[in-house]
C-alpha cells in the first residue's frame, strides 16, 4: 500500500512564483502565453464542476461568449474601463448561470450535458439575431476606451492574474471544509449524501464558479482581439479544448489540467505549420490516453506514486 508522503505548501507557492516570474521576464510569445493562461483558468473551472461534482458540461462556451459580449457592451455603452468591465462580465454570467440552473437542475448525466449544450447554442443564435449587439456581424470595441501603448501588456497581465487567482482559489477551496465535500462527491455521490453533504448545493456552487471563470476568460480573450462575433465567441471549440485538456491530463485533480494544457499547446505548436496533422494527433491522444490511462496522465502518476504538487490531503498523525 502507498503511504502518502508528507507535503508542504512550499512547492506549489514557489512553483507558481517561479512560473509567473518566467512569464513576465523571459522573452516569450505573450499572445500565446495569454491564451495558455486563459485556457488554463477555464480548464480549472470546468474541472471543478465536472471532475469534482460529476456534472459533465458540454456548454461552457456559453459563458465564454457571454463574458465577451457583456464586456464589449459595457465598455461601448457605459464607458466603464475594460478592467472593471471584466467583473461585470463575470457577474452577469453568474446571474445567467443561476437562471440556466433553474432549467437544468433536474437533469443529470447525459441529459445535463445535452441540455446545457442546447442552451449554449441557443445563446449563439440569440446573439446572431440581436441587432443591439451587432447581430451576426459582431461588434468592435470602442477604440477610445484603450491606450494603445500599454494595451498588449494589460491584457497579458489580466490573463496572468485570472489564471493565478483561479489556480490559488481552487487550491484553497479544496483545502477547506468544502474541499472534503467536493472530493467525497467526486468519489461517490450517493455516499456523500449519506454522510451529510448537500450534494446539489455543492454542484450549484461549482457551476456558478466555473461559469464566472469562463466568462472572465472569454472577456479577456476577446478584449485582446478588439472584436467579437457570435460564431467565434460561442464556438463549441472552446468547450472541446477544455474537455480534451482535462480528460487527457486527469479529471478531478488540480495537477491534471496543467498537464493537459502542456499536451494540448505542445501538440498545437509542434504541428503549427502541418495543417490537419494537429487535429489527427489531437484525436489520437483523445482516444488513446483514456483507453490506456482511464484517470488521465496525472491519474496514473498519482496512483503509482502518491505524489501531489498541490497538496490537498489531510494526514493523521
Amino acid at each position: 500500500m502507498i503511504t502518502i508522503p508528507r507535503s508542504s505548501l512550499t512547492v506549489p507557492v514557489l512553483g507558481l512564483i517561479a512560473v509567473a516570474t518566467a512569464l513576465v521576464l523571459l522573452p516569450i510569445d505573450r499572445r500565446l502565453a495569454m491564451e495558455v493562461l486563459l485556457v488554463l483558468a477555464m480548464a480549472q473551472g470546468w474541472n471543478l464542476l465536472c471532475g469534482y461534482t460529476g456534472l459533465l458540461s458540454f456548454g461552457h462556451h456559453a459563458f465564454v461568449g457571454l463574458g465577451a459580449y457583456v464586456l464589449f457592451m459595457t465598455v461601448n455603452t457605459t464607458g466603464l474601463a475594460p478592467v472593471w468591465s471584466i467583473l461585470v462580465a463575470a457577474l452577469v454570467a453568474l446571474v445567467v448561470a443561476l437562471a440556466m440552473w433553474m432549467l437544468l437542475r433536474k437533469l443529470r448525466g447525459p441529459y445535463f450535458s445535452i441540455g446545457i449544450w442546447v442552451l449554449a447554442d441557443s445563446l449563439r443564435l440569440l446573439f446572431a439575431q440581436w441587432e443591439w449587439v451587432g447581430s451576426s456581424r459582431g461588434i468592435v470595441l470602442n477604440p477610445a476606451s484603450i491606450d494603445a501603448a500599454t494595451f498588449a501588456d494589460m491584457v497579458f497581465y489580466l490573463a496572468l492574474g485570472l489564471a493565478f487567482v483561479t489556480q490559488l482559489g481552487i487550491f484553497a477551496l479544496l483545502r477547506s471544509r468544502s474541499g472534503l465535500a467536493l472530493m467525497a462527491i467526486r468519489d461517490n455521490e450517493a455516499g456523500a449524501a449519506s454522510i451529510g453533504i448537500a450534494v446539489a448545493r455543492n454542484q450549484l456552487g461549482a457551476f456558478l464558479i466555473s461559469a464566472a471563470i469562463c466568462a472572465a476568460a472569454g472577456a479577456i480573450y476577446y478584449l485582446s482581439v478588439l472584436y467579437v462575433d457570435p460564431s467565434g465567441a460561442f464556438d463549441i471549440d472552446w468547450q472541446i479544448r477544455v474537455l480534451f485538456i482535462v480528460i487527457v491530463g486527469g479529471l478531478g485533480s488540480i495537477e491534471g489540467p496543467i498537464i493537459g494544457i502542456a499536451i494540448y499547446f505542445g501538440l498545437r505548436e509542434v504541428f503549427r505549420d502541418a495543417g490537419d496533422l494537429f487535429l489527427i494527433f489531437q484525436g489520437l491522444t483523445a482516444v488513446l490516453v483514456p483507453l490506456v490511462m482511464p484517470g488521465g496522465i496525472w491519474g496514473l502518476i498519482a496512483a503509482r506514486t502518491g505524489w501531489q504538487i498541490f497538496p490537498t490531503r489531510r494526514l493523521a498523525d
Binding site: 500500500m1 502507498i2 503511504t3 502518502i4 471544509r177 472534503l180 465535500a181 472530493m183 467525497a184 467526486r186 468519489d187 461517490n188 450517493a190 455516499g191 456523500a192 449524501a193 449519506s194 454522510i195 451529510g196 453533504i197 448537500a198 450534494v199 478531478g252 502518491g306 490531503r313 489531510r314 494526514l315 493523521a316
Partner: protein, 244 residues
C-alpha cells in the same frame, strides 16, 4: 425508555407495487433490531425511507422527537441517521482518515477537534493503523469496517446496517458481531442480515418483513422458531413443518 427512532405506518409504492406496507417500529439507544425477510421483501427500501434516500408516500419517521419524514438525506444524516450500505461506498480517492473526517466536519456535533474524533471513530472499528491508506486499496473486511466508521462519523444516534456481514469469512463475521455489539452501547441499531447466527448474536429483537409488511416482531429465539417465519422465510409450508 423513549425510543430514539420511532417509525409509524410508513409506506412506499413503486407503480402498482406496494414495496413497504405500513411498517411501524421503535428502537432505543443500546438496542439492536434485526430485520430479516425473503429477497424483495422491502428491507432495503425500508432503510431508504428511514435515511431519506427515498421519500415515503405516507407515515412518519421520528428521530429524537423530531419528525424528519420530509427531510432530504443529507439533513437526516446531520440529524444523526448513519447508514452502512450493503455494497460499501468508500470515497476511493481519499485516505481512510479523510473518509471519516468528511462526515465529522459536516456534522453539527463536530466539536472543536474533528481530527481527534476521526481517530477515535477509526479506533472503534479497528482501522486506526490504516488511517493514512487510500480507501481504494482496502480489502473487503476493511471496506466494511470503513463503511461502519462512515455511518458513525456523522455523530449518529441511529445506525442502519444493511448486510454488513455479507461476503465475509466466518472469523471476520465474528469480529463484525463484536463491533456491532460495541456500537450498540451508544446507538440505536437496525441490522438487515441474512447470516442468521450473526444476527442472533447481536439482536435484541427481530422483525420479519414479508411483501413489504411486518409479519412478526419479537425475541430472536421466539421469532426464528415461529412456524409462520419458517413458511415465508425458509420456504417450508406449515403443514410440512408440522408433519416432519
Amino acid at each position: 425508555m423513549v425510543a430514539v427512532l420511532d417509525v409509524a405506518d410508513v409506506s412506499k409504492r413503486y407503480g402498482a407495487k406496494l414495496v413497504v406496507d405500513k411498517v411501524s417500529l421503535a428502537v432505543s439507544t443500546g438496542e439492536c433490531l434485526g430485520i430479516i425477510g425473503p429477497n424483495g421483501a422491502g428491507k432495503t427500501t425500508l432503510f431508504n425511507l428511514l435515511d431519506g434516500s427515498a421519500q415515503s408516500d405516507s407515515g412518519t419517521v421520528t428521530v429524537a422527537g423530531q419528525d424528519i419524514s420530509r427531510w432530504p438525506q443529507y439533513r437526516r444524516a446531520r440529524m444523526g441517521v448513519g447508514r452502512a450500505y450493503q455494497v460499501p461506498r468508500p470515497f476511493t480517492g481519499l485516505t481512510v482518515y479523510e473518509n471519516v473526517l468528511a462526515g465529522i466536519v459536516h456534522s453539527p456535533a463536530a466539536g472543536a477537534r474533528p481530527g481527534q474524533r476521526a481517530l477515535e471513530v477509526l479506533e472503534r472499528v479497528g482501522l486506526a493503523d490504516k488511517r493514512n491508506v487510500i480507501a481504494a486499496q482496502l480489502p473487503l473486511l476493511d471496506r466494511k469496517r470503513l463503511e461502519l466508521a462512515k455511518a458513525v462519523s456523522v455523530g449518529s444516534k441511529v445506525l442502519l446496517l444493511d448486510e454488513v456481514a455479507g461476503g465475509l469469512t466466518e472469523g471476520e463475521v465474528l469480529d463484525l458481531v463484536e463491533m456491532v455489539k460495541q456500537l450498540k452501547r451508544d446507538h440505536a441499531v437496525l441490522w438487515i442480515e441474512h447470516i442468521a447466527h450473526a444476527l442472533m448474536a447481536a439482536a435484541d429483537r427481530i422483525l420479519v418483513l414479508h411483501f413489504g409488511a411486518k409479519l412478526i416482531e419479537g425475541a430472536p429465539q421466539q421469532v426464528m422458531a415461529a412456524a409462520v417465519v419458517k413458511e415465508v422465510y425458509l420456504g417450508i409450508s406449515v403443514d410440512d413443518a408440522a408433519g416432519a
